[in-house]
Structure formats: C-alpha cells, structure tokens
C-alpha cells in the first residue's frame, strides 16, 4: 500500500471518485436514465416511460439488432478463422517472415476505419466483384477491421504457449496436423474465445466504415442510433443504445461461457 495514513487514503479515494464517477460511470447511467424518460432538462430525467423500449425492440430496431448480431457473428468467425490461421502459420515462420506477416495483419488497426470503408467502396462497386448495395459489403468491411485484433490476440496467445506441449506430442508420434487439432487448438481455445468476444464487441459498435457502406436493407444498430439522434430523437436513441450495450454484453457473456466450458472442462 502506497499511502499509509488513513486521512491520506481517504483523500486519494475522494479524488478518484470525483474523477471516475462523472467521467466514466455517469455517461452510462445517463444513457440508461434517458432511455426511460421523455424529458431531461433538470438534474433528473422526467416523464418516465418504457415506450422507447417498446419501439426499440420491434420493427425497424429489432431488425437492426438482428442485422448487428448477424454481421458481428459472421465477421468475427471469418476474422477469427483468417486471423488464427495467419497467426498459426506465422508462428512456424522464421523471424524475418513472421515480422512481415505480423506487420501486414496489424495494418488494419492503424488505417482509419473510415478509410477502410472508402477503400472497400471503391474496390467493390464495380464488376467482377459488385458487392456495393448488398449486406456482404458491410460484413466484409467488419471482417477486415476485426481480423487485425483476432490475429493479434491469437498470436500473443501462441507465443505464451509452452512449446514443450507440441514437442512432447510430436515425440509421441503425432503428426503436425494431429498436434494442431488435439493439442494446440484446445490449449488456445480460451484465447480464441476471448478474441472472438473482442471481435464481436468491436463489430457490434462499428460505425465509421458502416456509415460509408450500409445498404438500406442492412442497417446495423449504431447507424439506427445515429439516425435517431440526428433527427433529435435522443431518448429513443438512448433506448436503442441500451439495447446495443445489453446485446453486446450478453453475447460476450455467452461467448466466454462457451470458452470456459470447452477449455480444461
């Protein structure tokens, strides 16, 4: 413990609370509060109602929720497959090649999402790969954006993995494919599910590239939230935002449960 005097500690905690609560806790509480209100021009929201949720869980909003979930799950699975493949293949390469591969796969983190959206728009708006106007262009952009994160977390997990496991497995007569399937992937499973969770969360909240690409029949939740606030419907927007947060947390929870269940049983 760094601060020993009781007074000092309370002072430090007070400063912490003064900074932490208004900056981090308040915003989420405010969105939650607003989603149940019709007015907010004082300290507390007023005109309590659940009407926003009624509209946020049906029709257009419900469809946006499905859109977001389908996009996030598809993009994350694709990204995880590509990212994990690249990370596993990279682990077998020599240092120089691995560095090149790593640099290539982290590039999408550095490139602004808006630019990824723009580039996908430019590339896939003409034959032979005419994806513009379909849901696939949104899923594609999300996949590109989250692949980098999937690759990064899986390769970090691979470097942490004790090489003794695969070496012992090989010495026992297991071919590389068998070692991958029976030893390395099961040992990586916790990291894979964590990576999947990260990808899903990122994709569920993705707005930048989506704004450039979404076709009218494939509107994810963030776009709907923006549309609502843009036309001044802040309270409805808040309700949809709460639905988005809840859906994200629920999916993360479900994924982590799968991970915990599958690993080490």
């Amino acid at each position: 413990m760094l601060v020993h005097s009781r007074k000092g500690r309370w002072a430090v905690w007070a400063v912490f609370l003064v900074l932490f609560v208004p900056l981090f806790a308040l915003p989420l509480l405010v969105v939650l509060g607003a989603s149940f209100a019709t007015h907010w021009s004082g300290v507390l929201p007023s005109g309590l109602t659940t009407a926003h949720y009624r509209s946020a869980t049906r029709g257009e909003a419900l469809q946006a929720l499905t859109t977001s979930l389908v996009t996030a799950l598809t993009a994350s699975l694709l990204a995880l497959a590509a990212g994990a493949w690249a990370a596993l293949a990279g682990a077998a390469l020599n240092k120089r090649h691995r560095r090149i591969l790593d640099a290539l796969f982290v590039l999408p983190v550095a490139v602004p999402s808006v630019v990824v959206g723009l580039s996908v728009l430019v590339a896939f708006s003409k034959p032979p790969m005419l994806l513009n106007g379909t849901r696939w262009i949104v899923i594609l952009a999300h996949t590109v954006l989250v692949t980098a994160f999937a690759h990064q977390s899986v390769s970090a997990a691979i470097t942490r993995l004790d090489p003794a496991y695969e070496q012992v497995a090989a010495s026992l007569g297991a071919r590389p494919g068998y070692v991958l399937w029976r030893v390395r992937l099961p040992l990586l499973l916790p990291s894979l599910t964590a990576a999947a969770g990260l990808c899903i969360a990122l994709s569920m909240g993705e707005l930048s590239a989506t704004m450039m690409l979404y076709p009218p029949d494939w509107t994810p939740l963030p776009v709907l939230i923006y549309a609502a606030t843009d036309r001044g419907a802040l309270f409805t927007g808040s309700a949809v935002a709460v639905v988005l947060m809840a859906a994200t947390l629920f999916t993360l929870f479900a994924v982590s449960r799968i991970g915990a269940k599958a690993s080490y049983r």
């Binding site: 413990m1 760094l2 601060v3 020993h4 500690r9 430090v12 905690w13 400063v15 912490f16 900074l19 932490f20 900056l23 981090f24 915003p27 989420l28 405010v30 969105v31 907010w40 021009s41 004082g42 300290v43 590509a82 990212g83 690249a86 293949a89 090649h97 591969l101 640099a103 796969f105 982290v106 999408p108 983190v109 550095a110 490139v111 602004p112 999402s113 808006v114 630019v115 723009l118 996908v120 728009l121 430019v122 594609l140 990260l198 969360a201 909240g205 707005l207 930048s208 704004m211 923006y226 606030t229 843009d230 802040l234 927007g237 808040s238 988005l244 947060m245 994200t248 947390l249 993360l252």
Partner: protein, 272 residues
C-alpha cells in the same frame, strides 16, 4: 517455396484481396481527377482548400491533447486502483474492461444529456440562478470532442498500466516505504520507471485511435469540428467527390500508419 511459407499464403491472399488491393485503389483514385488522366492535381486542390488545412490541424491537436489527457488521467486512476486499493477496486478494473467493449459514440450521446444546451448541467444552473441559458455551451466545439475522447480512450491507457503494475514487485515498494520514502517519491522513482513502457505503448495506441476517431465527431454533429476521417466521409458520401476523399484518406493513412509503426517499435521495446 518452403511448405511453411505456403501455409501462410491463404490468409495473406485474402488480406491482399480485401484490404491491400482496395487500399491501393484508393491511392490510384487519389491521382485521377474527374477531368481524367493521372496527375497530382487532386492533391494540389485539396491541400489548397481551407477546409482541409483546418481539418488537418483540428485532427492533430485534438489527438495530441486527448492523448495527453488520457495518459495523465489514466496514470492517476491506475495508480489508485493498483496501489491504494479500496473495496470494489477489482470491480472498477472490471468495469474498465466492459467500458472498452462499448462503442465510442455512446459517450457523445451521454454528454448531450449532461452538458447539452438543455441538459442536466445547464438545467441545474438555470433552475438555481433563473438565467435563461446555462454556462455549458462547449459541446459543439472541439472541447466537447476532446472531453469525449479523453473519457472514451482513458481505459485504453489504464489497461496496459494495470497489467504492468500487477507485475511490479510489491516488496520493492515496501522496501522503499520502509526506508522512509514518501508516496510521490516512490511513484516517481520506483513505479514510473517500471510503468513507462506500458504508458508509452498505451499512449501511442490512443494517439492513433484518436487520429482515426469518427463516431464521436459524427455524433457531436457540429459544423465547426471537422477532422480528417469526417472529411473523408463527407467528401465521399455527402459530396460524392471520390478523388478528393481518396486524397484525404491517403494523408490520414500516412499519418496514422507512421505513428502506429512508432507504437509497434515502442511496444516491442517494452516487451508488450
């Protein structure tokens, strides 16, 4: 080609097709003005425009200021959580993780309710003083974006710091404390040198993310606050000026990728 290299090819091919090739097309398009042919004219046009120079300046100073804010705040909060723990400190650390999984624009949405022209803070002010308007009118200025970015990105600094702090040998701190060193001195001489790589790595990541941030700026909805990503969006989608959008995109990518390269070097040094 050796077999190991062959195995790396499928994902690289996919990346090339869906990421590198489109990016190359952006560069190509940035060199093709609407009038046809290939020239650097689009660059000259964009660089000459007041809007671009303004956006470039806004992007850079906002990113730098946000990063500085995040680093100071993140360090402070992480120090308290790690070294002056209170009941529930673990839960707070958990909350920070959850915070990271939400989209950035939620912060702007929340700030609208707190500091908006008819929001909480101004409502409180007008109720108490009876004035017609509240004093908090900064939300549609760059300061609003700054506040939102500091709020949203501070956890990105806290997370690597908390990880680094948990590796720190507490015996070292106790030894320093038993030798009579006071808290600020221990922080400066024992904790900071150990945490510096993590702080630098977190800071550079936040710098890149701030340079690329779009959701917060879009939700702020202010005409006066235009950043490079916002300019790309408005040129491409609202004005359908693709070559102009591509020029801005190339500039934005160069700045971000350059800085991200720096981040990778720093974090590799830090062993992160």
């Amino acid at each position: 080609m050796p077999r190991r290299l062959l195995w790396a090819m499928p994902p690289v091919a996919l990346l090339a097709l869906f990421f590198l090739y489109p990016l190359a097309l952006v560069v190509q398009q940035s060199l093709q003005p609407d009038s046809g042919g290939t020239s650097v004219q689009p660059y000259a046009d964009v660089f000459a425009s007041e809007a671009f120079r303004h956006a470039l300046w806004t992007t850079v100073w906002l990113a730098l200021a946000s990063t500085a804010g995040c680093m100071v705040l993140g360090l402070l909060l992480a120090l308290v959580i790690a070294f002056v723990p209170f009941p529930g400190a673990k839960a707070v650390a958990r909350f920070v993780d959850v915070f990271l999984s939400f989209p950035s624009f939620l912060i702007t949405l929340a700030l609208l309710f707190i500091y908006g022209s008819v929001g909480m803070a101004n409502g409180l002010w007008t109720d108490i003083t009876g004035a017609a308007d509240g004093p908090f009118q900064f939300l549609t200025t760059p300061w609003g974006v700054l506040l939102a970015e500091v709020t949203y990105f501070t956890p990105f600094v806290m997370r690597p710091l908390l990880a680094a702090f948990s590796q720190l040998d507490t015996a070292q701190l106790e030894a320093a404390g038993s030798l009579g060193a006071r808290a600020p001195r221990i922080v400066r001489q024992v904790i900071l040198p150990e945490a510096l790589p993590a702080l630098a790595a977190g800071g550079s990541l936040v710098l890149v993310l701030c340079l690329n941030e779009f959701g917060i700026v879009l939700f702020t909805g202010a005409k006066g606050v235009t950043t490079l990503p916002m300019l790309v969006y408005s040129k491409a989608i609202l004005e359908s000026d693709y070559s102009g959008a591509c020029v801005v995109a190339v500039v934005n990518v160069l700045i971000s990728v350059g800085l991200y390269g720096l981040y990778r070097v720093v974090s590799r040094r830090a062993g992160a």
